[in-house]
């Protein structure tokens, strides 16, 4: 489990993180969401022990990062957004160096290196120099390096930054595989759909503060079960259209009602599914012909735009 208490991080001219409190249970895959400068990278760096916070306590599996740094670091795997590499080492040598850094016994090292290089699909590049790898391959190599110590906690800062869509998808698949192995993962990303795929909790940061954090369910509940209602009418005449708009506008938990082309209507709903069924019953009772009625629960992107993007410029 990761516990952050009153974390504050300052830079020369800006306060990057302001009194952050956060608890991430074991095995959770936690997505950090927020615009540039929100404090995601600073928080991850402080968790990794590479940035000295102004104050605050960070506990990893019960160990204090400040008081037991060596013990705590053994539990962490950290991958920065643009990870530096040793260009003149071979792929296996690079991983072996970090296997040694993480105190893996010499006899076990090579097997461990082989296992993780295979996991990231770089076995065919075993003897290649790092300088000859593409950007996507380098990211995979650094992921292998990060996983080589079998860390309980994985800190991934924008792991897909700078990758093209195809490589990003490949990398995303790889992360999903890693995520399924019971580790606690903290991942930050701008690509919100990337997080939707495998995060079971998110935290939205903005201007150094955590706006909201929790599982997607908790956040939806916190936000009053915000969901998107979509209705598509069938060749609605003027009367039916007005009837439909009247039903929607009379529903107190519907907001932001919009009419689109082809008799498509959308609205933001803060009620639950039972409330949606009541609206559907009213539409049916008024004999308005519809071909589609759906409720889409808010995903990470919706939540971010609803909460996080309000003050984001």
């Amino acid at each position: 489990m990761i516990s952050i208490k009153s974390l504050r991080i300052d830079y020369e001219d800006v306060q990057a993180v302001a009194d952050l409190n956060l608890e991430i249970p074991k095995g959770q895959i936690f997505g950090f969401v927020g615009p540039n400068g929100a404090g995601k990278t600073s928080t991850i760096k402080a968790l990794a022990g590479v940035l000295d916070p102004t104050y605050g306590q960070i506990m990893i599996n019960g160990h204090d990062l400040e008081l037991e740094p060596e013990k705590t670091r053994q539990l962490i795997g950290y991958m920065p957004d643009f990870p530096p590499v040793y260009e003149n080492l071979k792929v296996w040598e690079y991983c072996d160096v970090f296997a040694a850094a993480y105190l893996i016994p010499r006899k076990e090292r090579l097997n461990r290196v082989k296992h993780w290089i295979e996991q990231v699909n770089l076995l065919n590049k075993w003897d290649s120099y790092v300088r000859d790898l593409s950007r996507g391959m380098r990211q995979r190599l650094v992921l292998a390096k990060t996983l080589i110590s079998n860390p309980d906690v994985l800190l991934l800062d924008e792991p897909a930054a700078g990758l093209d869509p195809i490589v990003r998808r490949e990398f995303s698949e790889l992360l999903k595989k890693v995520a399924g192995e019971g580790r606690t993962i903290i991942i930050s990303s701008h690509i919100l759909t990337e997080l939707s795929d495998f995060c079971n909790a998110i935290g939205i940061m903005e201007k150094g503060k955590m706006v909201v954090a929790g599982t997607l369910k908790e956040i939806r509940e916190h936000m009053g079960s915000v969901s998107q209602l979509l209705i598509r009418g069938v060749n609605l005449d003027a009367t039916s259209r007005e009837k439909l708009l009247a039903v929607l506008s009379q529903a107190s938990l519907l907001h932001d009602i919009k009419e689109h082309a082809d008799f498509k209507f959308t609205a933001t709903m803060t009620g639950d599914r039972k409330y949606a069924s009541d609206i559907l019953a009213q539409i049916v009772s008024q004999q308005i012909a519809i071909s589609d009625f759906s409720v889409k629960e808010a995903d990470v992107e919706d939540i971010f735009f609803q909460i996080g993007a309000k003050d984001v410029t």
Partner: protein
């Protein structure tokens, strides 16, 4: 993990693998062998042999023993060059690359100890040079046996050289990691290369400064002993070499010590400090190399070492050295002491004065832990604590200087106060600008210090007796420590060189102290105001 088991040391492995690629090793071996071949050839045909042997040059070619001795000597020099120049260069290059590229952050994030990381870097980066060094033993061992070179002297030479190499490599890693920003990592640009060359020029200069600690901080004692043993006849004829065996260069506080002990005495404490600095920099880049307590200890240690050497020079110098005698020897000691004390004061101030962020962080941490003020010795604390510690170091070393030299106590106190006040001016101004929010604060600080300490005294010197009155001249020149070091020396040695002044020495010292005290007061008040601003901000901060 065993600390010296390098097969498990990540940074050693990385450096070893990068530097020991087959093509690099082959070309390194080939170049070394070619150089050794050239050494044999040049030693055989060299025309300067008579200088070493005392023989007539026309017979030298037939003298195989002399040829082999000369070759051995040059291979030993090659070993030094390999490790002290090329090895040192590799260490600094690899260390600054670690800092610049950010790969060191991965190691910092790992559970390996800082000591292990430092050792990996120091031992791994010059791995190619170590291997080439080992290769040269193929020639050194048979040559030593053939010429009958003393095994003990050879062993002493290698102990001294290897310790020296380790010392230099550690110091240069410290330099390479000393920058606070990645882009300014030392040795990545021309200033770094110039600094590298400058340090070697300094080392060579240190050899001739008549002080045992400076001489034993260089690689010369090791080579001088080998030279004496290989070419005894030439040693007797060469007064310069003769100088290397003088008692004052081989003693400390008047006690004659073996060369290796003296070398350890000088280099071991500095090595420990350098390791501490490296460990600090690997832990967090944005902290100074040394803590305030470490800097205080280091200043005292260096001045204490210096005074021990000065004492030896003073009591044995007369007997052996013909260049220095009487007043000039004392004068030189005082001059060097003042320079050392002053520059350590400035250097310590640069490390001990917090930057804006560090100071603010310290205030917030103190507030968080329920304290009104933070510990004066912490990295975030104001320079005031350091200034007090420096005053103690200066006072105690001046007392020791009284043991070495006899000068009136009042004058010593006055000189000490003057040095302290100059450091106080510098530290006050530095802290004021570091804590202020001026956009170009470094440039403004540099301009002000440069103007007050260099430009104004030069102008005063030019305009003396023409435009400005002699009293104004005294005031203006007293602003600069550089124009006063000579005066302090004259005052303490009570020499006649002071007679150019129309005031008495005491009057000039008092006048200078008052002028600089006012200046120090202004800067200290400004710095204090800046501190209060940040304290108010921290108090308001949530």
């Amino acid at each position: 993990m065993k600390i010296l088991d390098l097969r498990d040391n990540a940074l050693f492995l990385q450096n070893w693998r990068e530097r020991m690629r087959q093509p690099t090793v082959i070309s390194g071996v080939a170049i070394t062998l070619i150089i050794i071949l050239l050494i044999f050839v040049s030693a055989f045909y060299g025309q300067d042999a008579y200088r070493y042997s005392g023989y007539n040059s026309q017979y030298q070619i037939q003298d195989a023993m002399f040829w082999l001795k000369k070759s051995l000597w040059q291979i030993l020099m090659l070993q030094g060059g390999l490790m002290l120049v090329l090895g040192t260069w590799s260490v600094t290059r690899m260390a600054s690359r670690e800092r610049r590229s950010g790969t060191l952050e991965f190691h910092r994030n790992s559970p390996t100890t800082r000591l292990n990381q430092a050792l990996g870097l120091i031992l791994g980066a010059p791995s190619l040079e170590w291997c080439l060094f080992a290769l040269t033993f193929i020639f050194v061992i048979p040559l030593s046996l053939i010429v009958g070179f003393s095994f003990i002297i050879l062993m002493k030479f290698y102990v001294s050289l290897i310790f020296m190499v380790f010392f230099y490599h550690t110091i240069f890693v410290l330099f390479a990691l000393s920058s606070t920003s990645k882009s300014q990592a030392a040795f990545n640009r021309l200033p770094g290369i110039l600094m590298f060359i400058g340090i070697y020029v300094l080392v060579i200069t240190m050899r001739t400064q008549n002080l045992s600690v400076l001489y034993h901080a260089t690689f010369f004692p090791a080579y001088d002993e080998v030279w004496r043993s290989l070419f005894p006849m030439a040693y007797q004829e060469n007064s310069y070499r003769n100088f290397s065996q003088t008692l004052y260069l081989n003693s400390w506080w008047g006690i004659a010590l073996p060369s290796l002990i003296l070398q350890a005495l000088v280099q071991l404490p500095l090595l420990i400090f350098a390791f501490k600095g490296i460990e600090r920099k690997i832990s967090t880049f944005d902290i100074p190399l040394f803590s305030k307590a470490q800097m205080t200890t280091l200043s005292f240690l260096v001045l204490f070492l210096f005074l021990g050497s000065a004492y030896s020079f003073l009591i044995y110098g007369n007997m052996y050295n013909y260049d220095y005698g009487g007043d000039s020897r004392v004068r030189w000691i005082i001059y060097s002491f003042i320079c050392f004390a002053f520059f350590f004061g400035l250097g310590g101030t640069l490390l001990a004065t917090p930057k804006q962020l560090s100071f603010f962080k310290g205030l917030l941490r103190a507030k968080r832990s329920g304290k009104n003020k933070f510990d004066l010795s912490s990295d975030s604390a104001s320079h005031v604590g350091w200034l007090c510690a420096y005053a103690l170091v200066l006072g105690s070393t001046l007392l020791l200087l009284s043991y070495v030299l006899s000068a009136p106590v009042a004058l010593k106190i006055l000189v000490g106060l003057n040095i302290l006040i100059y450091v106080a001016v510098f530290s006050g101004a530095l802290e004021y600008f570091r804590l202020s929010v001026h956009h170009k604060k470094t440039a403004i600080f540099g301009t002000i210090v440069g103007s007050v300490w260099i430009v104004i005294p030069i102008l005063a010197e030019i305009l003396k007796n023409k435009v400005i009155d002699i009293n104004v001249y005294y005031v203006l020149t007293s602003l600069s420590p550089f124009s006063r070091i000579e005066l302090f020396t004259s005052v303490l040695t009570r020499s006649n060189s002071f007679s150019t002044f129309t005031l008495t020495p005491l009057q000039v010292l008092f006048q200078g102290a008052i002028v600089n005290l006012l200046l120090a007061g202004v800067f200290q008040i400004l710095a204090s105001r800046e501190r209060k601003k940040w304290q108010t901000l921290a108090a308001k901060s949530n």
